[in-house]
């Protein structure tokens, strides 16, 4: 089909609904590398390519001497995009930027929390001078990024998400909004940055990167690898891992010194008896049904069997009860109180595995709690108050695990959590940013002794940041 204005029989690329439409171009007439990127779409009998294959497709065509009429790209260099303040990069930021440039401006930088990932992105944007879209997982990060980009570039910053729908040359979007909007704006940006990029390979979020033309890409995360097929997908979407900096390389220089203390706390006798009874019921059931939780589908199978077997409801209740006791025995709450008293005046974050425990602490100790139920205005008030010191202690379940910048936090108390290494490293990261008057950060991990939490704790500590800092505290610490 001819498009108006297209008289030449040269391939024409259009961006349409988040994919490329390729006209005047039969795969048989193309070099193999380009032909592999194009498919016939029977819905309209047209050839299409993935938007994320825009750069390799264009390159292959041009290298083969085929002139291309590019109607897809809707971005141009921004020649006046400059830093409005002097930026002196830290050595690891400079190294990361160089690795990214050497890698063809496409790839992932693994930097620990507090190492200045945002500043690396600012440097990359300034060097590239292209319209840029930054993807972030939360609304808190959306606002944080927009504010930082505005400070450095002093120009309007677009925001997508949290009620904002403004697109500018530099735009920050939540992953959720990007998935919805990319089919309309995916051709407007030459540079795509994915913050906390380990979220990107999810079955829905990946579409945000697949529907973007952006030839230049940068992924940022303290923990990009998942150790499964998602790693390969992440590389396809953003490029390879180009540099990695570990927490201990920066400790004491650009990150706060830190120690991690694991406190094993015995359950009270009545809780211990209840824990054992419920655990036995649950273990018996999973053994009888051959559930090992070694593969991803076992959890779904356990829930399904609980729904279908006559004794299933009892077993599910038993499972939940033993987990609740292990995660939140009374002695743990007393220990939290002791630790708060031990660190007077130090900004402290308390992490829990679930909302119920977070609100229990909030109610008993009269403390602000941030969960996904907290409204945007109150969340901002709590975070601002924490930074200023009006609220010296903040309780959260999982929503502050990632990204949010609270350099004042010096003490972290993990009341409970999952076995995820990523979650545990991210939680440690919350207290590692250097802050005025902060000499050493301390992360306490509270474990119910003699329960399944011991194994959970060992699993989540399988990271260099913990292995080199393993310190077991006395119960009376």
């Amino acid at each position: 089909m001819q498009h108006p204005g297209n008289k030449l029989q040269e391939p024409v690329l259009y961006f349409e609904n988040g994919v490329l439409r390729v006209e005047n171009c039969h795969p048989d007439q193309l070099p193999e590398a380009a032909a592999r990127l194009i498919r016939l779409d029977p819905r309209g009998n047209v050839y299409r390519a993935k938007a994320s294959d825009y750069a390799p497709l264009l390159l292959e065509l041009l290298l083969s001497g085929i002139r291309v009429h590019d109607q897809a790209k809707a971005f141009l260099p921004i020649n006046d995009l400059e830093l409005k303040k002097t930026l002196v990069p830290r050595p690891h930021q400079k190294k990361a930027l160089e690795s990214w440039i050497d890698g063809g401006r496409r790839g992932i930088a693994a930097l620990p929390t507090g190492a200045g990932k945002t500043i690396l992105a600012v440097m990359a944007i300034a060097s590239l001078k292209r319209p840029t879209l930054v993807l972030v997982p939360t609304i808190d990060l959306l606002q944080q990024w927009a504010s930082i980009l505005e400070q450095w570039f002093q120009r309007p910053i677009g925001m997508l998400g949290g009620g904002s729908h403004q697109v500018e040359d530099l735009t920050v979007s939540t992953y959720d909004s990007a998935v919805l909007q990319m089919e309309f704006i995916g051709n407007r940006f030459g540079f795509l940055i994915a913050d906390e990029c380990h979220h990107l390979p999810g079955p829905v979020y990946r579409a945000a990167a697949e529907m973007a033309l952006a030839p230049f890409r940068l992924g940022l995360s303290a923990t990009p690898e998942s150790g499964d097929a998602r790693d390969q997908l992440l590389e396809e979407l953003l490029g390879p891992l180009l540099c990695r900096v570990e927490i201990d390389e920066l400790e004491g220089k650009y990150l706060s010194k830190y120690r991690t203390i694991r406190l094993e706390i015995p359950l009270e006798p009545d809780e211990e008896a209840a824990y054992r009874e419920n655990r036995a019921k649950y273990i018996q059931f999973i053994r009888r049904n051959g559930i090992t939780f070694r593969n991803r589908e076992d959890w779904g199978r356990f829930l399904m069997l609980c729904a279908r077997r006559p004794e299933g409801k009892d077993v599910l209740d038993a499972f939940l009860e033993q987990r609740r006791i292990a995660r939140g025995g009374r002695a743990k709450f007393r220990k939290v109180w002791e630790l708060l008293k031990k660190h007077p005046g130090e900004r402290t974050l308390i992490f829990t595995a679930d909302n119920a425990a977070a609100y229990r602490i909030g109610r008993e100790f009269c403390l602000p709690v941030i969960t996904h139920h907290t409204g945007a205005k109150e969340r901002k008030d709590f975070l601002d108050g924490f930074r200023k010191g009006t609220y010296p202690v903040l309780v959260t379940s999982k929503v502050l695990n990632e990204g949010i910048d609270v350099p004042e936090a010096a003490v972290g108390i993990v009341l409970s959590g999952s076995g995820s290494v990523r979650e545990h490293v991210q939680r440690l990261g919350r207290i590692l940013r250097p802050g005025a008057g902060k000499e050493q950060a301390t992360l306490y991990e509270l474990i119910s002794a003699g329960t399944s939490e011991e194994g959970v704790s060992s699993r989540r500590r399988e990271h260099r940041a913990y292995r080199i800092k393993s310190e077991k505290g006395a119960e009376s610490c």
Binding site: M1, N17, V19, F184, P203, A207, E364, F365, C366, T390
Partner: protein, 397 residues
């Protein structure tokens, strides 16, 4: 929408066979009725989510399907925050002193006692400082339905839950009348899905998916496909095939009108966006020589493709009818196909409105250079066309 743990299906070879509820089964009807009674009673007495959840515990333990009934019934509820107190403001005031008071208190109990000495906080602390959490929201209304209707929704939801794992739907319908097809296409457009439509005689074949589907195993469009499914059930005859990625296997889901599934989509007007309703109202108020015709026809395009205009207008004196099709930003390809077709079939009284997000003045000039015979047929709009502009074009036709 039901989630995986609520879905019941058998696998036979590579086929997925949803286990539907027998809508005449007295036991199932009784279980559905028990769930509905708790929701009805809850709405009457404005109970909280927490109380509702407690009351439902016994019922959900009684049958496999009951948890799914509860999930579906929750979708018919409206909850409201308790408005008696400005909780965030009270908390801000309390926390501005509690963090420091904590250091001088020997125990959490003493902390709360000390804080309660301040008259501002005494009542607040005695109640619940997080009393505005969802579990404390009140059930203020419930869109009631019969036990049988709940079972019907359950059956449809079993299919919708599976379609979350599908990438496309293939539908065949025989002898569908224009009104049926029009309704189906309106739903397609509403859910922003792409379709390949082929007509062979009286049979229409539709392949429905999202634009990225041919490349990526994305679930981006799955919710749209699932939400679209009840619209298929409004057809008199239909056959559906979908490939379901289920637990690392690909299963075929085949259903037809004999599955006895009943749609709860009754009236498309419930989904008509506000700007369309406003266009209708303003047109009625301002334009006297033309009226909007209730029914728009299905028109046949190139290569058996079917399309339908968004609006049809009739001139009062001559009874001449003119159709209008609108192209928004996700319809660029269809626009180009329609331009070719209309250039070849100028006798069709069809106006094409083009959203400025797909074409600016320069692109319109290019289109008109390419298709000069369409000079009086094309116009640009932003979001939705203005009434005066459309009326002017109608009069010039």
């Amino acid at each position: 929408m039901l989630t995986k743990e609520h879905l019941r299906l058998h696998r036979r070879a590579d086929r997925a066979l949803p286990v539907f509820a027998d809508t005449a089964n007295p036991d199932l009807l009784a279980a559905a009725e028990s769930v509905l009674a708790i929701f009805r009673n809850g709405a009457t007495h404005k109970i909280t989510r927490g109380e509702l959840s407690e009351q439902l515990t016994g019922v959900t333990a009684s049958r496999d399907e009951a948890a799914a009934f509860v999930k579906l019934a929750e979708g018919l509820c409206t909850f409201a925050d308790c408005a008696e107190l400005d909780y965030p403001a009270m908390r801000a005031e309390l926390f501005s002193v509690s963090g420091f008071a904590l250091q001088n208190a020997a125990s959490p109990e003493e902390l709360r006692e000390r804080l309660a000495e301040n008259a501002r906080f005494s009542v607040f602390l005695r109640q619940d400082i997080y009393g505005d959490l969802p579990e404390n929201q009140q059930l203020v209304s419930f869109r009631d339905l019969s036990a049988r209707e709940l079972l019907e929704r359950y059956n449809v939801a079993q299919v919708q839950g599976l379609l979350i794992y599908a990438r496309k739907l293939q539908i065949r319908t025989d002898n569908a009348d224009p009104a049926e097809l029009r309704r189906l296409f309106k739903y397609l457009k509403f859910f922003r899905l792409l379709s390949e439509i082929r007509q062979k005689g009286q049979t229409s074949y539709l392949t429905i998916s999202g634009p990225l589907e041919i490349f990526a195993n994305t679930r981006k469009y799955a919710l749209q496909l699932a939400a679209f499914f009840p619209a298929v059930l409004l057809l008199k005859t239909w056959k559906l095939n979908a490939e379901i990625e289920w637990k690392s296997r690909t299963l075929q889901l085949n259903l037809d009108e004999k599955s006895k599934l009943r749609s709860h989509y009754r009236n498309f007007s419930a989904y008509v966006p506000e700007e369309i309703a406003m266009f209708h109202r303003l047109f009625r108020e301002k334009i006297k020589d033309w009226t909007i015709v209730g029914e728009t026809p299905v028109l046949s395009g190139n290569q058996g493709e079917a399309f339908f205009p968004d609006l049809s207008f009739r001139e009062e004196t001559s009874r001449k009818v003119v159709h209008l099709e609108l192209f928004h930003r996700w319809h660029k390809h269809q626009l180009e196909s329609r331009l070719i077709y209309l250039a070849q079939h100028r006798q069709i009284p069809l106006l094409l409105g083009i959203d400025r997000s797909i074409a600016d003045e320069n692109a319109l000039t290019e289109y008109l250079t390419e298709y000069p015979q369409l000079t009086d047929r094309l116009f640009l709009f932003r979001d939705f066309p203005g009434v005066d502009r459309v009326a002017k074009l109608l009069r010039e036709m």
